[in-house]
Symmetry: C2
Subunit: 320 residues, 2 copies
Amino acid sequence: MGGDRAPEEIVAGALAARGPRLEPVLHGREPVVTPFANGLPVVHADDVVAMDEKPGDAARTKRGSSLFAVCRAVAEGESDVAVSAGNTGALLAAGLVEIGRLPGVHRPAIAIPLPGPDGPTVLIDGGANADARPEHLVQFGHMGAVFAEEALGIASPRVALLSIGEEPEKGNKLVRETHELLRATGLRYTGNVEGRDLLASVADVVVCDGFTGNVALKTLEGGIQTVMTGLREAIGAGLRTRVGGLLIRPAARVLRAKLDPDTYGGAYLLGLKGLVVIAHGSSSRAAAANAIRLAARGVEGRVVERVAARLAEGRADPAG
Amino acid sequence: MGGDRAPEEIVAGALAARGPRLEPVLHGREPVVTPFANGLPVVHADDVVAMDEKPGDAARTKRGSSLFAVCRAVAEGESDVAVSAGNTGALLAAGLVEIGRLPGVHRPAIAIPLPGPDGPTVLIDGGANADARPEHLVQFGHMGAVFAEEALGIASPRVALLSIGEEPEKGNKLVRETHELLRATGLRYTGNVEGRDLLASVADVVVCDGFTGNVALKTLEGGIQTVMTGLREAIGAGLRTRVGGLLIRPAARVLRAKLDPDTYGGAYLLGLKGLVVIAHGSSSRAAAANAIRLAARGVEGRVVERVAARLAEGRADPAG
């Protein structure tokens, strides 16, 4: 029921992702969902969390919604992973309320794979924790590294810290303290990176607090959209450029697909006792299918178990 | 002497900006600068601050450099404003050491005009203060508003706060506290904006701490460059798209000029007893000329005096 294009596009994505080792289960208002389900099982949920509903309100009054039901299905072992294109804050709340944190996890965090020329970079935290302490960021580093290894297949991921200069003395107090802690972990920590490195495949995991991460993500989104829109307008302004625009259209499509955050299917909520995936609110069927496939890869790679084990090891190292 | 293309491009920019009411004075190694000066006065400085030199080291050992000399010329009333494309951190240090803070200013801040469809948006702080308190951000709001009024000619500027959601309860602790203080000022405060709004002319002044501001600026720069480079590569990959690329070239140029941060000439260091302008390190002659012209507008608009007066008023309001 979640997302701007539900249920039709989300269900179509589930159908596209269905395979011998992947069985989608749909949660939502049965009469609305079933016409699209094409044989997929539908679990009825009376309620729906609106896209603009406050997470706290949803947690109090909407436990009967499909959004909370998918998380409960994971908590109760009926499903292996929850995927939703709905309200991000409410999904975070549902994950905490229904599934709960892994032992030893200070704060769950949102991991977002960003596209890069030589492969994705995982930004963590993308917005779950607006205020964070250095020890939280160290855990984000561990969780992001496990996610990069198991879900994205990156061996020995390079972990970096988002700052405002490469030198260790650059950054705010949080970053300078985190830098010292990260150096003392067993992670392959490569030091500070800057905002301009996020799409450059300079690191495999980039750690930051959720406020900085969310500002960076939305700034990136806005910047890319400004260029794309500006180019379309500039091209539309003259006959000659309009003809040129038609000729470059295939190239522009390739580029758009490359930069599309939906390539990697969304945001992964890590640090819970089960896996939760937040697909873009505007997800098309292709984006929903990618989100579901990567969610399944996370299950096969046993990301939750590996995060739990890594954090247990982490507690043994000086920065844990 | 500062910037990647000094002295030639910087001096050419000074010559282009020269006018009946604008007299550039060049500071640098005389034998190097004079051949380009074309009649502009040259003040000899033995030393040069390197682009990668640490600000603290520069302040200890390079007071004889042109970078410190331009700030001293402002402090001593020989010049009205200092412009440099050199080392940003060192220029900040030189401004503090040679010119000094205005009375009542907690922290000087960097104001950066960003391009937008309906006019510029001033981001403040762009990186002078990695750690800041709510009362600092309130002062940034006042300084940014004065700059928007006097240097950019924006009457009654809309002042917003950079956060991760429009609702007042969104954001980190710093932002939530600042939000309450800004509401109590006499500023035309319009609430929170997000990263995606920075290039959208949604506000005239956007306030943030220097860490967040610097991450946002560099992320924006990286995102725009990724699209531009990606488009060039995608276009170059086929004959048809290459022809299309030639046809849209004028449109791409218009767009690039629109998005060029050099349109507004660089970064303005506010909160000192004199005005200092930091031009892009890669400044061309056109960018240097724009920086010098906007610096002159800041002098004519009496930005420093107006900031001093505004902060004195500000101390009378509840959030001052």
